[in-house]
Amino acid sequence: MAQTYARGPIGQSTLRVEDDPLLKGLGAFVDDVAPPKNTLHLGFVRSPHAHARICSIDTSAAKRLPGVVDVLTGRDLVDLMKPIQVDPDKPGFKITHRLAVTIDKARFVGDTVAVVVAENPYIADDAVEAVAVEYEALPAVVSLDASLAPGAPKIHDYIADNVIYENEQKTEGFDAVFTAAPHKFVRTFRTSRIAVASMEARGCIAIFERGLGTLTFWTSTQVPHIVRHALSEMLGLSDSKIRVIAPDVGGGFGMKAYLYPEELVAAALAIKYRGSFKWVQDRVDDFLTSNHARDQQYKMSYAVSAEGIIKAIRADILVNIGAYASFPMGSSLEANGGPRNMPGPYDFAQFAFRTRAVATNTCPTGAFRGVSAPSTFFSVEGMMDTIAKELGLDPVELRRRNLVTKFPYTNAMGQRYDTGSNGECLDRALELSGYVAYRRSQPASRLLDGKYRGIGVATVTEQTGQGASRYKERGLYRVPGFDAALIKIEPSGKVSAFVSQAAQGQGHLTTWSQIVAQELGVVPSDVTVIQGDTATVPFGSGTFASRGAILAGGAIIRATKIIRDKVKRIAASVLEASATDIEVADGYAFVAGVPKMRVALSDIASIAYSLDARLIPEGEEHGLEAIAHYDPPTSTVSNATHVAFVAVDPATGAIEVERYVVVHDCGRVINPMIVDGQVHGAISNGLGQVLSEALIYDESGQLTTTTLLDYHLPTALDMPTIQMEHMETPSEITLGGFKGVGEGGVIGAVPALAGAVRDALSPLGIEIIRLPLDPPYVLSMIEAAKAKRTN
C-alpha cells in the first residue's frame, strides 16, 4: 500500500519567493557582487586552432600596455596548481589530466594558452589581443567518425585510439534470445551537439583576505562544496580556509556542475598575489568553452517477437567527449547515461551494450538536463515507432504491450523501480489528447490544409535522486551523492534552513520552506532558506541530476524530526504532559485532542535559548537546531507520457508544434506550479534540440555557431500551449515519497516531437534518425523522398 501523506504546505502552489526580487531586478549574480577595491580582472587567451603545438608565446607587447599587471602562461601557473584529474583507475577508464592553461598543445578552439591580469576588463581584452602566440597547426579531428578512423591524430599522446572511456556489458543468455527472435530491426540515430546557453554565463571573483589568510570565492556554480573541495585539493589551501559562495545563479542545467579551469586560475592567482581577481564570461566565450552536450550516436538493434514484444536490445553508443574529461563527472557520464536510461519504461530482460566516450578536438562535453537521456529516448522511441510501423501496429499499442506496469520491477540493468504509473500516464495522456479520435480521422497522406500533420507519443522514465551508492557504482568518486540540512528554530520562533543544495532557478527557497513548514507545523513564510554558501550550509553534493527534492527533502525531514522531538519534549514539560501526546501545528505545540493546552513555538524557542523566565528542562541542551544528512538507498524513477502534434510545411520544411499534452508523475508533488514550470522549461529545451539547436564545428575544428544569432535557441513564440496533468505515485524508498522532476520534460519532449514529425512524414517513407529537424534538412528529406517516388 502506498503511504498517504497529511495535507499541509506540501502540495500547495505557493508563489515563488524568488520571483519578486528577480522581476524587480534585485537579483544578485556574480557580476552584481561588489568586489573589493583594487580587484584585478582576468582575460583568457584562447587558442584559435583546434589542434596545434604551441611553439612560443610572446607576452612582451601585452605586458607593456598601460593597466596590464601581468601575463602568465601555462609554465608560470604549473607550480601553482595540480592538473585537473578526475577519472578513477578502474577498468574502462583512462586517467586523463588537463592543465588549466595548456603548455604543450592546444586541443580545441578555446583551449587556454595564457592569462592576462589587468586593471579593468577593457584593458584585459586589449591585452588578450596583444599576446602573440606562435602555433604549429596539427591535423584536427572533430567528429566521432574521424576520431575513430584508423590512424587518426591523437588528442592525448597516452590514449592511442582516442577512446577515453569504454564499457561493454551483456546479460546472460543474450545471444540465444536475440538470435531466436523472429524480427530484427536495426537503426542508427544521431543527435547534434548542443549548448546550455544559460542566461548568465560563467564567472567568478576570488578574494584573498590577507589578514586571515582565507579565500572567499564567488562563483556561478551548481556545486559550491565540490568546488571548495577541489580548489583546496588542487591549490593546497586547506578547505577550512576557503569559502565558496554561489549567489543567484542564472541557469546551470548541468553545465555549471563542474569545476572549470578559469575558476582554478582565479583562485590560484588570488592566493599567489594575495589579492582579488574577477572574471565574467561573455557569450562567445561561453559557446567556445562551457561544456557542450549530446554529440552522440546510437546504433540500436532490436529483437522482437511476432506479437511485438521486445526480447532483446543491443546498443552501440558513441559519445563525443571533446578534448578533456571534466571535473567531477569525468568521461563516463554521458557514455553511461545512454545504457543506464535505455531500459526506460519497457519490460525486457536481455540487454547488451557497448558504449564509448571518444576524444576529439572540440570543447569538452558533459551534463545537460537529462544528460544522455533525451538522445537515448530519441533512439528508443524512434525504434518503437519504427517497429510499430514495420509490424503494422499502432505505435501506442506496441508501447502498451511492452510497458512495465507491475511494481516493484527490476530492469535489465539491475535497477529497481519501486513505484510507477507508466500505463496510467499513457491512458490519461491519450484521453486528454484525443489520440484515438485523432488517429481515426487522420488521412493516410497526413496532408491536412496543405501541411503534413502528425502526432507523436513518447513514454519515458527519468532516473532521479541518485545516492552515494549509485555514484560509487558508476565510478564517479568525486560526487558525494548525499546532501544535508541544518535547521534552526531561531530564538524568535522563526525558522532558518541551511541546505547543501544550490539552486539555479529551481525555486528552492520556496519548496524547501514548504517542506520545513509542513514538518515543523509552521507557515512557509516563517521559514528562510539559506543555500549556496559553504561557510553556512553543511557539506553536500549540490543541485543537478533531478536530485534536489529528494535529497534536500530527505535531509530536511530528518533534521526537522530531531527538532520536532525536542520541541515536543520541552512542550511536554511546560504543559505537564507526556511528550508522546504532543503534536505540532500552526505554530503551536499542543496536547493531542486538547488544542487549548498549547504553547507557542516562539515560547519554546525562548525557553530553548534561555531568553525566558523558565529554564530549559533538565537534561536538554540549549538551542533548537539539528543537522541531518540524507543518502537515498538507490535512485527513484519518475515517468511521463508526452503527446505532441506538429505541422510540417511541405514547401519550406518549417515545423510548427500545434498542441502538446503531458501527463507526468514525479511522486509526491511539493509545489505543483513549480513542477509545471520545470516541465514547461524542459519541454522548451527539448523543442530546441529537436527543431533548431546545433553547435556546428567545421572540418578544421572552428566553432561556427558562437552567437545567439547563429545558435538557434527557441523563444516563447515557438512554444505550443502545453496541457499538463500530474499523477502522484509516491516513491516508497525516498523519505517523503518525492521523485525528481528537473529533467523529465526534455527526456519526453525530444522523442515526442521527433515522433510527431516521423508520423507526419511517414507516408513519404521518411525516417527521423537525426536531429535537429531544421527547415532546410526537413525540406531536403521531403524532396529526396519525393524524387525517389517518382523514379
Binding site: D126, A651, S692, H712, P776
Partner: protein, 289 residues
C-alpha cells in the same frame, strides 16, 4: 566582450554631424539604435575609432508626407514606424515589414535608417525598400545626393554611403490606389533571423496586375528583385494557377550561396514558396484607396 577604445561624440545638429563625419572620415561611424553596431563593437568585429551618436539630433526622427511621398528620418525607431498612422496609410508594406525586423524590445531601439545602412543580406527592411522603390538621401560635406535601391545596396553589409556621409532621409512614394502588399518570411524560429523572405507590392486594375514589385531577402548579398516572376504576372489576371506558375520563375531570379543556415538550393526553393505566398497573401488583403 568589451569594445576596443573609441571616442564618443553626441552632436545635436545635422551640421555638427556632418562636420564630425567629415573630420574623422573612415575612422568614424554613426551610431543609431546600436542594436547591430554595439554587439559588433563588443565582439571587436567593428572597431571604429570615433562614434558619432545620432540619437541627440532631433531633426532625424520625423515622419512626414511630402506631397505624396513618405519621408522618413533615419532615426525613426522601427516600432515607431510600425505604429505610425502615416506610414500605414501611405506605405502599408513598410508597416507590414516592420513587424518582422526583430523582437519588440530590439525594434523599440533599432532604427529604420540603421537597418538600411547596415545592409544585412537577411534584413527585412532592405527588401521592403527595394519593393517600395525607395529613394535614399545621403548627405555629407558636399551636400546631398540621392540613390535608388539598386545603387544604394552595394553588397553584403555595404552601401554606397561614403566616409564623411550619412543616410539623411528615406523617401518612399505613396502606394497608388488599388494597391495590395505583404511581407512574409521563414526561418528556424518564429522570432529569429529569417532564412529568407519576400516583400510584394501589387497595384491592380480590377483583377489585372498593373504594377508589381517583388523583392527577396536572404538570397544574395543584398535584396533581389524577382523580375522573372514580375514579368510573368504583369498585365495579366492573377489566377491562383498563374501565381503558382510565376513564382517558380523566381528560382531564376536568385543566385544564393550556401551558408551555415541553409544551402543555396534551399534558399531558391524557399524563395519560390514565399513568393507565391506573399502574392496570395497580398491579394487577400485590403486595397489602398
Amino acid at each position: 566582450m568589451k569594445p576596443a577604445k573609441f571616442t564618443y561624440y553626441a552632436p545635436e545638429t545635422v551640421a555638427e554631424i556632418i562636420a564630425l563625419l567629415g573630420r574623422y572620415g573612415d575612422d568614424a561611424r554613426p551610431l543609431a539604435g546600436g542594436q547591430s553596431l554595439v554587439p559588433l563593437m563588443n565582439m571587436r568585429v567593428a572597431r571604429p575609432a570615433v562614434l558619432v551618436d545620432l540619437n541627440r539630433c532631433k531633426a532625424l526622427d520625423a515622419v512626414s508626407d511630402d506631397d505624396g511621398t513618405l519621408v522618413l528620418g533615419p532615426m525613426v525607431r522601427q516600432s515607431g514606424g510600425e505604429r505610425s498612422e502615416l506610414v500605414r496609410r501611405l506605405c502599408p508594406l513598410l508597416a507590414q515589414t516592420l513587424r518582422f525586423t526583430g523582437p519588440r524590445a530590439v525594434r523599440n531601439r533599432a532604427t529604420i535608417g540603421g537597418s538600411l545602412a547596415h545592409a544585412d543580406p537577411v534584413a527585412e527592411l532592405p527588401g521592403a525598400a527595394l519593393a517600395l522603390d525607395a529613394t535614399f538621401v545621403i548627405e555629407g560635406a558636399n551636400g546631398r545626393r540621392t540613390l535608388k535601391p539598386d545603387a544604394f545596396f552595394v553588397g553584403q553589409l555595404t552601401t554606397a554611403i561614403e566616409p564623411g556621409e550619412f543616410l539623411r532621409e528615406i523617401r518612399i512614394p505613396k502606394a497608388a490606389a488599388n494597391t495590395v502588399s505583404a511581407f512574409i518570411e521563414s526561418g528556424a524560429r518564429q522570432e529569429g533571423v529569417a532564412i529568407g523572405g519576400v516583400a510584394a507590392q501589387i497595384t491592380l486594375a480590377g483583377e489585372v496586375c498593373q504594377d508589381i514589385r517583388l523583392a527577396a531577402i536572404g538570397v544574395g548579398s543584398g535584396p533581389v528583385r524577382l523580375t522573372a516572376t514580375e514579368r510573368t504576372l504583369l498585365g495579366r489576371k492573377l489566377s491562383e494557377a498563374l501565381i503558382t506558375e510565376a513564382a517558380k520563375a523566381a528560382e531564376d531570379d536568385v543566385d544564393p550561396t550556401t551558408d551555415l543556415h541553409a544551402t543555396a538550393h534551399y534558399r531558391k526553393r524557399l524563395t519560390v514558396a514565399l513568393a507565391e505566398r506573399a502574392i496570395k497573401q497580398a491579394l487577400a488583403g485590403p486595397r489602398t484607396n
